[in-house]
Symmetry: D2
């Protein structure tokens, strides 16, 4: 049992913190102000491209990939602490080329992509030249049960033909988004987890149409966005299928483990940011003759936040460590656990911080409602809390002989 941080992770952490403090945090407010003033906010502002170049030059790039051939080769547990830092800013992840869903998509390609697929899509993603989206959730079915998926990816000769409608395809609004990973039903008669395929789809392919961008609590989250996308007879060569027809779930399982960890650590970083905002506000304003922090249960709220964050962080690190040392399958319960815990911690603390800010907390003078919306999304994205709780209890019950199934 050793809770200390490796020298390598400490080094990256220190450099990422410095980069955040010197380059990113100081320009973030101005960035969002400028973006909101754009007639078309679906753009990459120059400052982002500049900072990406700087981060890349500094080697603070692709830190999420454990394979040394693609970057620093940090373990998941090491990267977790980096992701926590980047979670304190909404623009940091892209700047370090560590943004969802590109991270997960790059992992998929690194693990399962053919050489051709890697050359065509992984290479430019690793360079940060293009971005990507992941098209899995569907509007017409309860996607909490992934086997409900109704979109099709049917083999016809040496082609695969995609049809259906997806939504919550995050990042699809980004001007650099060039490729989508589409998941659809190929073999309705195969066993339940061998029916679906993952297919690489150029975004400008005929038949692919972004029908609309979806707001989250009224926010379109430009320039990334969450799209509803229709696929109408989209024809691709079979070589666009990743790993093989019917292997979609197998890939998804591998993809989601580390990706969930990244989100959770970012959520923890965001929680620390929110706690800081809460305390600073509550120490600087007075009511009834005292700083707000000294009124009623406010100090208890701070203490509870600290306990919740600390525990969530440890659980994420444990899950990451299990991914690193025991593999995705052995880490499934822990990954689901932290997937439930971290967003709920963030949502709760953010709600309390809003309350402690008074009206200001609801406005965009502070990033609180934006963070709140992020937390709220995470409780649904990559599987809703309920599905993860179900999975956790399934693992728990499996330890016992039972007449329930």
């Amino acid at each position: 049992m050793d809770f200390s941080i490796s020298a390598k992770a400490q080094d990256y952490l220190k450099r990422v913190k410095a980069f955040m403090a010197e380059e990113i945090i100081p320009i973030e407010d101005e960035y969002f102000r400028t973006l909101r003033q754009q007639e078309n906010p679906w753009v990459v502002l120059p400052v982002i491209r500049e900072l990406k170049a700087k981060a890349k030059a500094a080697g603070l790039w692709n830190m999420f990939l454990p394979m040394p051939e693609y970057g620093p080769g940090l373990t998941n547990a090491e990267y977790a602490l980096i992701a926590e830092e980047t979670g304190k800013s909404f623009i940091a992840p892209e700047i370090f080329n560590c943004n969802a869903p590109d991270t997960g998509n790059m992992e998929v390609l690194a693990h399962f992509g053919s050489e051709e697929q890697k050359a065509q899509w992984l290479a430019p993603l690793l360079e940060g030249e293009i971005r990507s989206a992941f098209c899995m959730t569907e509007p017409d079915v309860a996607s909490s049960d992934a086997t409900n998926m109704a979109a099709t990816a049917m083999i016809e000769g040496d082609e695969i033909v995609l049809n259906g409608r997806k939504w919550w395809s995050t990042g699809i609004g980004h001007p650099d988004c060039k490729v989508l990973i589409f998941m659809g039903l190929s073999n309705p008669d195969a066993p339940r987890h061998q029916q679906h395929s993952m297919v690489l789809v150029p975004k400008d392919m005929p038949g692919v149409k972004v029908e609309r961008m979806l707001p989250v609590f009224g926010d379109l989250d430009e320039p990334y966005g969450h799209g509803e996308v229709s696929f109408t007879n989209v024809r691709l060569p079979v070589s666009a299928v990743i790993k093989g027809v019917g292997r979609g779930f197998e890939i998804a399982q591998g993809r989601l483990g580390p990706g969930r960890i990244h989100h959770c650590m970012r959520a923890i970083g965001a929680s620390e940011r929110v706690l800081k905002l809460m305390i600073e506000r509550a120490m600087s304003r007075e009511a009834f003759g005292k700083p707000i922090i000294n009124l009623g249960g406010n100090r208890d709220i701070v203490a509870n936040a600290r306990m919740a964050i600390e525990q969530a962080r440890l659980l994420t690190l444990k899950a990451a460590w299990m991914l690193d040392t025991k593999g995705v399958m052995a880490a499934m319960s822990e990954v689901s656990q932290i997937k439930v815990v971290a967003p709920n911690v963030l949502q709760t603390i953010t709600d309390q911080a809003i309350q402690m800010h008074g009206g200001a907390g609801m406005s965009d003078d502070f990033p609180l409602t934006q963070i709140y919306a992020y937390a709220r999304c995470l409780r649904l994205a990559d599987g809703p809390d309920e599905v993860h709780r179900g999975l956790i209890s399934k693992f728990e019950l499996a330890k016992y002989k039972t007449k329930s199934k």
Copy 2:
């Protein structure tokens, strides 16, 4: 102890329900779609003016005022059930001329206005020809402690001069908003609750400037809006002061009681609407081979929602009945109680409904995030939860001899 509804209230309730079902609910989606498409959404769409005329003609107008000279003369307890119905739509309150903050402002004028003030402002408000705003909360101080208020309303000869900055002035963006009630410090040396005055300010007065409109969870809430307003040497005759210099808190206390009840009952109506959406969604979608409603703890969520709503409704009715029969002072604890309970019930249920809707719940395909933002506002508007909890416990402790103060 009689929980039945009076014949008069039943009659109005029935007619309001019918009006909602036939005239308002069917056009609401289209109304919001149209509004969003306006280049300038700070407008009153014709359908609203038409429906206002219809409601007025039907006598479903000014139902919030207990005084028979101004309308049907329903008691607060009777009106509570009406307000619950109107809370099921965001546009209904205006259509029945029962919208905050006009309701509270009309009450202030009806109770405390001079004949001149009534003729100038109350008459057109009662007719629904103009609308109003209430300028109390300030950006630069913790307004949870109202005595923190820093804006000034200083007597100079036979004029009163207003200076300062207010925000969260709801309704100030409405094109019909013609008058503001401003509260400011007049006598810093008077006893703590006799320092402030309420002043009627024409919105187009020189020195009054709406600096910006404040978003709530990203939503500007057009065409009402929440404004930040500066007052710079706004000069008015002393006759613009309501009731008298230094009597602002006295008026505020009377104003807020019934107003809080209205909001709470609307929150309960909104809760019923959300519960309905939740159940309909959860009964109509399937996952893992079952309707979602039958999965995990979802039925418990429904049961808990029913218990929470039922209790909140009863507490609101009790508080309203106390206002009607014992007066504002005797009802203070109950009013504070329901002020805490109702918005929290609505916020909790709405969060659960969002979760049960999956991604759709976060988008604007459903009114859930809009309702969520409304609930979130209510936990701060008219005094944050914390202040009300403090008041409730103060009343509780006052029942005992004590060495605490």
Copy 3:
């Protein structure tokens, strides 16, 4: 909508309060001290018999029965307020002859008993000469599903023969307990709710054996107690069956409605007692230079308690009023709602009061752990929370067309 209390209820309430204040509260501590010192605590101490006689003479007797032929004839809503008062003492209910399970058993006999059954058992129960128990729950099955019941009540000629094992038969340890109501399976082939019979069993009948008394949080709750009872070939004439073979569930349903209300109101009275203890303690002790009540979130705890109690009381009154005016079937959701709410409120507040008392709260210097155990029991007795939540949601969903059942 009228929250005022009828003159008749006010009169009884005033007299019950006075009797409690003058006769019961002053002797309660001494009573328990004396009882604990008995070698055999399964006794009725003389003070109880004296106070029963006094209460009876004062007409404060059998107040729970709405039928005027048996007592004051208070409605359920009127009695609810009386029950709240008696809930502030563990010995008061017996003194007023309003103790469970006798109350429910008397109701059963009054409604469904034959003239012979009434003469034999109802008359002495009404006089307070004997006491009774109710034998329904079983140790070997999940009794939350009442149809699991495995004990049998089989007709053999003109006799009915009882076999099986029951537990949590409350009151069976009382020296005056003379009769049990036993519920068992008679017709396994009948429709699900027509299989069981209720049978009146003299406690000293051969074949009836109290196997042991069950502790609740270590407390045997003398001299009432909760027994585990075996029934071995207990033979009774068919005339011992209440209402008819196979009508057990029908009776149970009628029995449980008002009985649950009584328990809930007593729980609310107990909650008021606990809140009082909490405040008195927290106002009288100091830590860190302040009365404890002024530390941290303690005042919020008081405010939350007040809101929870107030809402629970209103919901109980509403449910009682529905029983009175709409009948048992129409009140089923409300009765289940309050059955969940009231014990949970009491449990929560008592836990908080224990915490505010420090170590003393866990000891028997205060009645807090005893009250806690009572609350904990109520969350299981007469149906666990879970079953009631299930029922509430079933009523809720029944308002909608549905594909779930």
Copy 4:
């Protein structure tokens, strides 16, 4: 970051688990049955002495002390996992000579005792020949604020004279309890944390009187017990003072850190035991045609329990690791954090397990109410939750420049 367990800890853990499984768990029920049948339950049953001898012979003895001269010399983090195991039985800690309050008292003596004190008291404690108690909390003041302490330990010449009343002196009922550590006020005029002394008091000293044993939820917790003890002019040589007059708080601070960790890990072990009981019960009973585990939100309860336990364990390990590597002062926030978290997790899960057991859960057929009472105690013992929350927030706020104190 390494969550693996050292080879040494694994070895001890494996042997403790085997010892528990083979020697302790099989006899525990019988032990408690036998104890309850004793006329005088304040005894050490022979089986305990036998098992102590066996454990000692196996080297599974004094595992809590990190100093290698006194035992295996496990770190706090290593011992934490052992303590978790022993927390699954109420008798295990004594058998391994790892029982509170002896552990804390031995630590005090090992760190701060004079050679004479070590020879007289530490040696027989280490051998398991005698036991001890800790007399700090007082009945007449709010002991949450330790500086409230009113008992006195006054120097008179070369003697120290003790007066006052203590309670919640755990273990004082044990027949082997021979020595008490008493804390009292020596220098009222010294700085706030230098006023008190710790004194070693033979239990049979004249003037020491155990006034009564205190029940916890009705349970006297024999043969350990929680005593109320009066000290009347107890005269001891100054050499009975530990470390020096006025150094009581200094010692207490050092004593409490590891002791809290031990309790927390035992609470986590108890939580695992409760979760196991819950699942086994819920998988083995049926209601409404399904195993109870598959009803309503029961699987969610299991999942939530797993997440809570996992997080509490990680936080305890982190706190233990900080004690080991950074020292008591640096670990203070983490120690307070886990002191709040672990007992609350145990209390919540136990309440849910009781509910899932139905009536059986409240009786002594299962250890649930006993465990519940243990959890409830822990929320007050060694400082109530509220004091720890206050401390945690103080550390948090200290990170910021502030005008609050």
